[in-house]
Amino acid sequence: MKQFIDSVLKSKIRKAMPVMTHPGIEALGYTVKQAVSDGRIQYEAIKYIADNFDTIACMSMMDLTVEAEAFGAKINFPEHEIPTVSERLLADAAAISELKVPTLDAGRIPQYLLANRLAAENIRNKPVFSGCIGPFSLAGRLYDMSEIMVAIYIEPDAMEQLLSKCTEFMINYCLALKATGTQGVIIAEPAAGLLSGDDCMTCSTQFVKRIVDAVQDDTFTVILHNCGNTGQCTHAMIESGARALHFGNAIDMQQVLTDCPADILVFGNLDPVTVFKQGTPESIQSDTKVLMEKAGKYSNFVFSSGCDLPPFTPEINIRAFLNAVNQYQ
């Protein structure tokens, strides 16, 4: 994996990796519900992306509920949208104290490990990245996102305990993902983007860093994604130790690239909704050109969407984006 990062850094050609699995699911005639429930179907979708799009790498799904479900959260499964947590699992500090860290056979975790293993075994033309939720975002899903925002100040000890349990599970899960043979993991920590830089450091970074320290090496890279960050969390993201950082569309990439060390890969950040889904091939070409002018001179920059491409994003737009990345070098 170090070789992959070094090759990107040394290359004069900028590459692209939009965050996407939905186009594969749709092209193969599956529903999202099938893909998040069946590891073989998810693998087929990943393989389709790997085979049919000129991207620098591909990735497994990030539905961001599989980990909460393993802890016991109830999940709602729409046919064509990513699942959501349907009710709060933990009501108070006592519930946190009693919470057991789940084993890796809970819920859909085995299906996700299967999808990652099949992808790692069968996709040989580019790296495969696993996907998972970050510890603060997971804790928010278990405790309620609005409530955890207040609880980090009102009940800091209970939140520390919850975050530690989430982190313990995420370390185990990421080690299992690593064992499937993928080349890295994208840790999505969107809720941390709602925090100040200091709170991000306290409530997210120090826990993400434990995961990074446990799994990252020359064969396995952590890509930390925080799409809520508008600039206040960039320093905290860098401090995580992740070798690659992924940014959302709410941030100025030129500023990010100035702020980030040159040996960290930086991914970002065209709007997945207004640019990819609602745009046209012409508008996306134009938006890609603007991003190239801002960020293309940085050798550690990789073109990407600011977040997961939504269901039913027109494939023609994705191809226009990839063509534009090649065209505007």
Binding site: E81, V85, M149, V150, Y153, I154, P310
Partner: protein, 223 residues
């Protein structure tokens, strides 16, 4: 004395001091919070309208401004909203009796099919803090629930939220149902994937990208 109490209350709301037991903010630890000070203000004879307008609305406006300028973030904003709610609980009898008038009524909910609520909650709290009565219908709200709420509050403005690209399209039938029942009712929309163009295309009367913009939009609509 009155002015001093209102200033203390305003400070509690601005900095999120809910009550004496709350450890936040650290510099006010052990001091009375919005809960205790509101009670004291009412016992000392301060007009509830003054409490609402000169302390709560004043403080929440500062909170909204600071949030818009990235000087505070979601936790600080929610703590301020909690402090405001602790104060507002003491004012409820005066709202019910009509002794205190609010700017209007705002019905809000996350559209059917969508279970996300943090953005909707922020807007609801900030709008309440701006002096509106807020009827929060929660998440996964169907068109008929909005219409039923409108029947109970005929002069209300309605806010509809969505977080997903697959659920934002559900806002249009909600708007159509509300307009079919009451063409003059104003409807504003918001949520991460929405835009002003999308809002206009589905027949909404306005779009706001953050709570503060939502408050300004409501003030404009109700003027």
């Amino acid at each position: 004395m009155n002015k001093e109490l209102l200033e203390k209350l305003s400070e509690c709301v601005e900095f999120g001091k809910i009550n004496q037991a709350s450890p936040y903010p650290p510099q006010m630890k052990g001091q009375p919070g919005a809960d205790e000070i509101t009670r004291e203000a009412l016992e000392s004879g301060i007009d509830p309208s003054e409490i609402l307008n000169d302390a709560l609305v004043f403080a929440m406006n500062k909170v909204g401004q600071k949030y818009s300028e990235n000087k505070i973030f979601v936790p600080q904003m929610l703590l301020s909203a909690k402090a405001m709610s602790a104060s507002m609980a003491h004012l409820k009898p005066f709202f019910a009796s009509g002794a205190v008038k609010r700017k209007g009524t705002f019905i809000i909910g996350t559209v059917f099919g969508d279970l996300h609520d943090i953005g909707k909650n922020l807007v609801a709290m900030m709008v309440e803090g701006a002096g509106w009565e807020v009827i929060d219908l929660g998440i996964d709200v169907k068109a008929e629930q909005f219409v039923d709420a409108l029947k109970a509050h005929p002069d209300a403005v309605i806010g509809v939220s969505a977080l997903l690209t697959t659920t934002m399209v559900n806002i249009k039938p909600v708007i159509e149902a509300i307009k079919a029942y009451s063409p003059s009712t104003k409807i504003i929309v918001g949520g991460a994937p929405l835009s002003s163009d999308f809002a206009a295309a589905i027949g909404a009367d306005g779009y706001s990208k953050n709570p503060q913009e939502g408050i300004e939009l409501l003030d404009k609509i109700s003027a």
